[in-house]
Each structure stands twice: as C-alpha cells, then as structure tokens.
C-alpha cells in the first residue's frame, strides 16, 4: 500500500517537474542569448563595476567584477590567509589581536565604501565583524587591510559598518544585548539590566584612521541594522531593533511577541556636540586598535582602555524610537534622505517613514509613551506610507536613483521593485533562493548607479553542479536599466555574502597601486640590495635578511642554524615591476608561506626540529627559471659548533 502511494506521489512529482522543465526551456532561447551578451566581458576587456562582497564566515572580503561576476581577489581581513601569509607573517599577525587575545577568524558582514557629500569616493571600504566586534578599513589603492578597531562593551556587531555621508563616522551596533559593563549575573534577570551600546567611530579624513568617539548606552534591545541619513537627513542615523521583549531564551518565539519593535533615530550631530562640550562619562572598555603601516610594512597593536559613554536620556532631542512592525531587519534611506524604510522581516509590508514628519512629530512632542525614558514617536505621525508587496519577509532595500526602491524578500524568495512616493509595486522577480541582501552600485548613497542590481542568496541548492552537502552561496545579477528587472546571471560567492558595496571601476582603477617603491620601504629588517643580505644570530634567534629577484634568493645557502633555533626569514622582493611577486616556503614551517609583492618585505618564522639539510623555495611561478628558485639551510645539532655562514653562488660570508 505504502509503495503504491509512493509510486503515485513520485509520478505526480515527475509530471510536475516535467511541466516546469518545459516552461523554463521556453523562457530561455532568444532572451537568454541577449542576456549572455549583456554579461559577456571579452578576454582582455574590463568590467564596468567593482563589487566588494562580504566573505561571510571566511572573515574576508572578495572583489568581483560586474557584469561578468568574475572574482578578482580575496582580501584577507579578519582571518588568517595562508595564500599570502596574512595573519601568519610577523608583519600582519598583530592585525588579528583583540582584547580576547589573538583571534584568527572573524565573521565579516557589511562592506561600505567611503563617501564625500553622500557620493562614493573610492578611498576606502569598511567592513564589520559580527562575532568579536570589530571594524576594518581596507585601502582601495593597495586592496589591503590597513586597520582594525575592536568595539568594546558590545556583542554581535551587526548594525555596521555603515558610513555617514562625508565619512565622518562609521558605526557599530550591539545585536546581542549584554551587561554593560560586563558582569557575572543571572541570565534571566536581563530585562532592564542589559544594554545595547551603539558606537560612533570617527574617521580621520587624511589617513582614514579610526577612533572611538562615543558610545550611546541604549536600552538592551537587539540593534540589528543601521543606515545613515543622507542629504536632508544628514546628521541622523537610524538603527533597527528587535527583541524589544528583552527575551533571553527561545527568542524565535519569545522575541516575536510584540506587534511592533523600534527604529532608533539618533541625532549624532547633537551627541557629537554634547561630547565635544564635555558631555558623557568615561567608562571602562578594553579594546585593541591595530594599524598596518605601509612604510614600515608592520602592523602594531595598541591596547586601549576606556570610552566615552553617553546616556541617551541626558541629551534632549538626540534619540527617539519609531515603532516598526514585526522584528525589522534592514533599514534604508532613499537618496534624497526623506524616506526611511523599515523592513519588518516577519511582515508583508514595508513601513516608510518621512523625515519631515519625524521632525514635525518631534517638534510637537507627538509621543506614544517612552521606553526606558526614550520618547516613542507616534507611529501614525511619522509613517508616510506602506509598500504592500504581497511578498513575505522583507529584509533589505536599495535604490536606483531613478525613483525606485528594490526590496529583497527572504521568505517569498523574490525581489520587488516599487515606486518611491506612490509606494506601488511595479515589478517582481523570483530569486534563487531566499535572497538576503541586495546591492546596486552606490545604492545606499545619494547617487546610485542604477544599471545593475544583484541579490545575494542564502540558499544555493541546485543552482550549480553539486559539490556534496556543503555549498558556496550564490548571487544573481539583474539588469535594472529598463522598466522590468531582467535576471542575467548566477555567480557563486563565499558563504555568506551578507552585503556588498559596488562602485564604478573608473573611480578607483587608475589609482590601484602596481608595486611598492623599494625606496619607501622602511621595514626594520629589509635588505634593499643583495649586498645588504646577511644572517645574524642573537641567542637562539637567527635573522636572515634575504632578497628575492628573478630567479634566485640571496643568500640561497645558509649553514650554522641549530635545532631549537627560531629562524626569522625576512624576505625583501627587490623587483620593481607590476605583478612580479615571489613566494617563500620552508619545509616543516608551522606557519604558512608568504607571498611578497615587489618592493615589499615579509617575515616568517621557522623552528627547525631535526638536523639535516633542508630546502626552501619560491612558491610563485615568477619567471622562466622559477623552478630553479630554491635554496638550502643546513641544520646542525643544538650543541654543534657549525659556523654561521651564508652564500650565493659559492661566495661564502660569515
């Protein structure tokens, strides 16, 4: 009986599938071939846009081209990266220091490109780490991580790393309310006791250096995402929050009890002024601030103590709550800065708030009570309209600069295009599957480039050839130049691409650095010529000042190293030409290889464990004689009297 049922079911499913198959086939054909042309970037041609996709659990940032969907580079940020030695090399290890010690991994989330006057300026891209709260800054000249700052007193830095319209601030939020200051206390006494600090990090306009300016010690809701005001709402920042129930367990049910949660509207300019005038209190908070210096090629960590904490109730007119239905996720502001979009992720509707109405309600004290002393603006007074999409699970919205918003719907797995002002839905397209974030180049700035939009999907399933149970994630590129969105291309991404920032290639490609000038190399252990190469012993530390050039190391023979020594290979790449890196790998090294760019010096430690003659080699196929690019280290017993000496082409020195 059961077998028959199964058979019938199978047959039914089969017919359904066949039906679907036929439909999708007839959908392709002529249209698909013109779509192919739209994404085809011929060999030797360049893409029109750079896209910086969050590397998610890899802790990194990946660089793609649009419309081709080709990946150009993976930039290591919060994680060790054996490809080039980031986080392993002596120069870069400090980048991963935190107040919890060395953390070799991170969960990177939301990249955002620096702006000037609300427009993408292509100086830096920022990205936040959720797990051990941090924000990184990456140079768009070198495409390297230059700085990482930890956020103290916070947990789950998710509402980050969005920048204000002149990159005055980059923000960090607290998604998991915690005691502030941290203390040993019963979990079920969290209500009213936990806090959700929002951190404003000042950005130095010349070097991009970050500095924590102040933390707003907000009530302990879960601050999920954020977006700065633009243009007319510049000076404000908006944060969504969920779990206003302050549940501490089984949140999937307990945090969905309230009909409405809150958007926190923060007048940061007012708080900035308050702090400048001596407002706020100095509270404890230990955090690491790591900076990579391009000149010395060395990252250093400064452990800092204390931040300025601001009680939002003590700055009148600075912080308000706006009610928003059903556990909102994304919050977005349209290019004019007038409309603030709350994406209630358990709702079918988007709530659109008017900045002008918000100002009016504040003026009229049009409040609906307060939450922990923070005034709640009356929902009806600030609401401008709703986008009644019919979809389910709105998460994020981007804008095309032509008067339309594009919202992702996770549950109904689609992208919905709607008109700003009338709030009517004008188009909808399925996404495959369960879209999270969307990106339009400049789509969260004053000036979006509304030609392409891509969705970053959480679920991949059958989109590519199967690769076992574990799959990479998937993005989909849509042409949004016409009235209707057109799906052009699928391309895989590292999981999970929480968000991406994209920018016209012309804004950055000409200033992309080609190599490091050897003259500007101020690395302490650099050997800038073969005549400067040497080996020095300091106790059981052996420092090898070596160089690489096509196609040999200098020195390439070293003797007098002993078991138990700590050998520092300081390798300087003497090349001064584009794309001539050299690698260095040593047998038995417990670290990684290093990849050294022209003009750069990198250091790796090797601790020889056994006597013998051990080879090293260049890992990068640098030249025609790359395979010859190798050398030997003779390792003698701990108590041996083998003389320390080194050579290239049998010219021994000691």
């Amino acid at each position: 009986m059961k077998t028959i049922q199964k058979l019938l079911l199978g047959l039914g499913a089969g017919l359904l599938l066949i039906g679907c198959g036929n439909n999708s086939k007839s959908d392709s054909g002529a249209m698909a071939s013109s779509n192919a042309e739209k994404v085809y970037v011929a060999p030797g041609e360049h893409d029109e846009f750079y896209a910086f996709l969050s590397g998610g659990y890899s802790g990194n940032l990946t660089v793609y081209g649009l419309p081709s969907g080709r990946m150009f580079k993976e930039i290591p940020v919060f994680s060790q990266f054996p490809t080039n030695g980031y986080g392993y090399s002596e120069e870069s290890k400090a980048m991963l220091n935190t107040s919890f010690g060395f953390v070799p991994w991170g969960d990177s989330h939301h990249p955002d490109i620096s702006q000037t006057n609300g427009k993408l300026d292509g100086r830096w891209v920022f990205i936040n780490e959720n797990n051990t709260p941090r924000i990184a800054r990456i140079s768009l000249e070198t495409f390297e991580t230059e700085e990482i700052i930890e956020i103290p007193n916070s947990a789950g830095n998710h509402a980050s790393s969005y920048v204000t319209e002149n990159t005055e601030y980059v923000v960090a939020g607290t998604r998991f309310a915690v005691p502030n200051p941290q203390k040993d206390m019963p979990i079920d006494e969290m209500k009213g006791e936990f806090k959700g600090p929002l951190t404003f990090i000042k950005v130095d306009q010349e070097h991009g250096h970050m500095e924590i300016d102040f933390q707003i010690n907000m009530p302990g809701f879960n601050y999920d995402l954020s977006h700065p005001g633009r243009d007319k709402s510049h000076g404000w920042f908006f944060f969504t929050s969920y779990n206003t129930e302050e549940a501490h367990s089984m949140q999937e049910v307990n945090a969905s009890q309230n009909d409405k949660d809150f958007i926190a509207a923060v007048n940061w300019m007012k708080i900035k002024e308050y702090v400048e005038n001596g407002g706020g209190t100095e509270v404890a908070g230990t955090y690491a601030h790591n900076i990579y210096d391009e000149s010395t090629m060395m990252a250093t960590t400064e452990m800092k103590e204390g931040v300025t904490s601001v009680d939002p109730r003590e700055v009148p007119g600075a912080v308000y709550y706006m009610p928003v239905p059903k556990s909102p996720h994304g919050i977005d502001v349209n290019p004019t800065g007038e409309y603030i979009i709350g994406n209630g992720k358990l709702s079918t509707q988007l709530s659109v708030y008017s900045f002008a109405k918000m100002q009016e309600a504040i003026k009229n004290k049009d409040f609906d009570g307060d939450a922990y002393g923070i005034p709640i603006l009356k929902y009806e007074s600030v609401l401008e309209g709703v986008v009644d999409s019919g979809g389910l699970g709105p998460l994020h919205t981007e804008f095309d600069g032509k008067g339309f918003g594009y919202t992702s719907f996770f549950i109904s797995s689609e992208v919905v295009k709607w008109k700003v002002g009338t709030w009517e839905v004008v188009d909808r397209q399925p996404s495959f599957y369960s879209v999270g974030h969307l990106t339009i180049p400049g789509g969260n700035s004053r000036e979006p480039f509304g030609k392409y939009m891509f969705s970053m999907n959480k679920i991949t399933k059958d989109r590519y050839l199967p690769t076992g149970p574990e799959l990479e994630h998937s993005a989909q590129l849509y042409d949004i130049s016409g009235d209707k969105m057109e799906l052009l291309l699928d391309f895989p991404t590292h999981g999970e691409p929480h968000y991406a920032a994209a920018i016209p290639a012309d804004l950055i490609k000409s200033k992309s650095k080609k190599y490091y000038d050897l003259e500007d190399n101020n690395h302490k252990y650099a050997a800038k010529s073969e005549s400067a190469t040497r080996v020095e012993r300091k106790g059981n530390e052996v420092h090898v000042y070596a160089t690489t050039v096509r196609s040999h190391f200098s020195p390439d023979n070293i003797e007098g190293v002993k078991v138990g020594d700590k050998v520092y290979f300081h390798i300087t790449n003497l090349e001064q030409d584009f794309d001539v890196p050299h690698g260095f790998a040593m047998i038995g090294a417990n670290t990684s290889e290093i990849l050294i760019m022209p003009g750069q010096t990198k250091t790796i430690i090797w601790e020889p464990k056994r006597e013998g003659v051990w080879p090293f080699y260049c890992t990068d196929f640098c030249s025609a004689l790359h395979q010859e690019m190798q050398g030997y280290v003779r390792v003698s017993a701990k108590n041996s009297d083998t003389k320390l000496r080194w050579s290239l082409d049998d010219e021994w020195k000691e």
Binding site: A42, P43, E45, R550, D577, F578, A624
Partner: protein
Amino acid sequence: MNIPFLLKSSASIFLMLCLLGCNSSAKSESVDKITDAKTNSDEVSLSNKGQAFIEGDSDAVNALKLAINSPDHTTLVAAVQAAGVENALVNVGPLTVFAPTNAAFDKLDKATLEDLLKPENKSKLASILIHHVAPSNYPIKTLEKNIEKERKLYMAGGQYLEVTKQGQDIYVGGTKIIASVNVSNGWVHIIEDVLLPKN
C-alpha cells in the same frame, strides 16, 4: 662565427625601410585576425596583443623599451618587430639580451640580409634574434664568474656561446660587450656584431 662585410649606409637605410614595411603589414594582419575573431571593440583587440603593449607597469624600462628608446638600435628593433618576437623581450624573464648596434647590422652581408627579410624566412630571422637572448640574469659579474668556473652560456635558441675576457673587456661569442644596462626583466649588453647561430 664569421663576421660579414661592411655595407654601404644607403643599403642599411633600405634594409630598415624594408623591415619597417614588413612590420606594419604584419601588424595590420594580426589586427585583422583579431577583429575577425569578433570582440566588442578595437581597443579590446589591442589589449589582447600581449604584454609588450601594456603601458606604465614599472618605472624601470624592460629590454624591448630600452632598445626602442635607443637611437643606436633602430635596426634591431625593426628586426624584432618584423620577426614578431616583441612579447618574448618583455616577459618576466629573467633574460639577458645581447643587443647588436645599428653599426653591427651594417657589417652584415647584403645578400644575407635581403634573404632574411623574405617573408618565408621570418622564422629564420626570429631564430637569429633568439640566439641573442640568454635565459637568466647575466650581469658582468656573473659573466666573469662563468669564465672563472668554466660555465657555459646557454642561449634561448638552443646553442651555447663562449664567454672570454681580454684585458678588461668581456667577449661573448667573439664579440665585445661595449655597455651594459640593468632592465626591469634582466640585463641588456650592447655588442658590436650580430651573433649568427651555427648553421
């Protein structure tokens, strides 16, 4: 290796014009080919010509750029272009180029030259040019060491050249090195004769 006769300068000008002529026809031919292959723009097809055509990679010049910038090597450059071996001279190398001057080419037998310039002998011309290139870096110091250690100098064409020293001068394949330049992809040694491979 026999060094041929001197040529009249008018003949050398004729030769250069010839070489340049070959060069431009070769160029338009390759562009046509690429255009036929159908890409989106002409700019694209140019960018697919190879590494020799990338601008602004380095402040230091590569072996080909050095020759192009030298008024004493116009014949060599023309020959390189005629033989279509530009990309080999800008490759990451490392390579050492023994670069005959215009005067060195002038010493060649006129009939030999004319023969080389015939389209059917393009590969022969290329093989002669490749005989001027040694893979790896050979600064003067390393060449001196070759003499000291009795190491051979392997040329990219497959043959070996003898390195000798007379007084302070280094000779390669019997011709004197009159100047040396470090380039971004190796070394260029300027020589007084064209090196003709055996056979």
